[in-house]
């Protein structure tokens, strides 16, 4: 029997990698009259649900996915974050 585990994968440009989107956002801050904001980096957040026997197994799948597909290790770093544990088990009939 498996349970559903929900994760978020936060992908961001590695330190030192040029981030033109972050730079553009930063450049626009002056138009809002806001001072003192710097080092803006724009990343991506992917949320997904994994069916697995336990959280450890689910996390292993997410880690693999994050490293091989969701991020490009050459230019991006990622962080896996559990968001809410099993909401239901697979054997249950959905409400």
């Amino acid at each position: 029997m498996t349970s559903d585990f929900r994760f978020a994968v936060n992908v961001s440009p590695k330190p030192g990698i040029l981030d033109p989107q972050g730079r553009a956002v930063e450049g626009s801050l002056g138009h809002l009259g806001i001072d003192g904001v710097s080092a803006v980096r724009v990343g991506r957040r992917i949320e997904l649900t994994v069916a697995a026997p336990d959280e450890e197994a689910a996390r292993a799948i997410v880690e693999r996915l994050a490293g091989e597909l969701l991020s490009n290790p050459l230019i991006e770093a990622y962080q896996v974050e559990p968001i809410g544990a099993a909401s239901s088990t697979r054997s249950e009939v959905p409400a």
């Binding site: 040029l18 033109p20 989107q21 597909l69 050459l74 230019i75």
Partner: protein
């Protein structure tokens, strides 16, 4: 016999027709290959065309990397087969780790669609030998993520190994500067427009030689690149002899 060269069509490819035409102009028999194909129909070379494969979702080229045909392309490349990726095809090849580096969003943030000039760094490769001499080659670019990036160590290695194939140049053939230089349309590091793998049989570039193969298109400077690739694939097929043909 006319050499058969495959053009991979992904959902979202849009320069495949130009690629098929360019191969024909260069004297090859173009063979469309579908992204779902598990074999390459016995072609002697593979061209990955420009476009927005799978909508370029997530990152340009990454979802195409996992398509069935790319498994066959990787095997073909590992056997020494010639593979050329143009624009989105270049992005696919870097995501598939068949070429070094990555293509980042253009430094100017804008999609750039205009004519640029590039020059070959080497004239002794399967992709440049028919160019004859080093000169500025005029052809278009059309991309939003074309800023070539690799860390300094990798860049030094690429230069030392002669893997930098093309650089952006001015109309006079002078190497382009950084992002502030209009000759460098996307801010590519060291003005790199195209690279090769270490073995020298896989290459990619962001500009479009396949849309600059006839004077009526505004420039035929790209034909030398396509013709080099076609001739190299033909030569390899001839050298392999009937054994390769028999596996079709």
């Amino acid at each position: 016999m006319t050499v058969r060269i495959g053009v991979v069509v992904f959902p979202g490819s849009n320069r495949d027709i130009d690629a098929l035409n360019a191969l024909e102009v260069a004297g090859a028999e173009p063979v469309p290959l579908w992204h779902d194909d598990v074999d390459l129909a016995g072609v002697a070379g593979v061209l990955l065309p420009g476009g927005f494969a799978y909508g370029d979702y997530l990152r340009a080229g990454v979802i195409a990397r996992f398509s069935p045909v790319m498994r066959a392309v990787a095997g073909f490349a590992a056997d020494g087969g010639h593979v050329l990726g143009i624009c989105n095809g270049f992005q696919v090849l870097t995501e598939a780790h068949l070429l070094p580096g990555a293509l980042l969003r253009n430094r100017g943030l804008r999609f750039v669609s205009r004519e640029v000039a590039i020059a070959a760094e080497r004239l002794d490769t399967p992709f440049t030998h028919a160019l004859g001499a080093r000169r500025a080659l005029r052809m278009p670019v059309a991309h939003g993520e074309g800023c070539f990036f690799a860390d300094d160590t990798t860049l030094d290695e690429l230069e030392a190994n002669g893997q930098v194939l093309f650089r952006y140049v001015t109309a006079d053939g002078v190497r382009a500067g950084g992002e502030e230089d209009r000759a460098n349309p996307n801010g590519s590091l060291r003005a790199i427009a195209g690279v090769m793998n270490a073995a020298g049989n896989v290459a990619g570039l962001m500009p479009h030689p396949e849309t600059a193969v006839e004077a009526v298109l505004g420039s035929d400077d790209g034909l030398g690149i396509i013709a080099s690739f076609v001739a190299s694939a033909a030569e390899r097929e001839r050298a392999a002899g009937p054994a390769l043909v028999a596996t079709r």
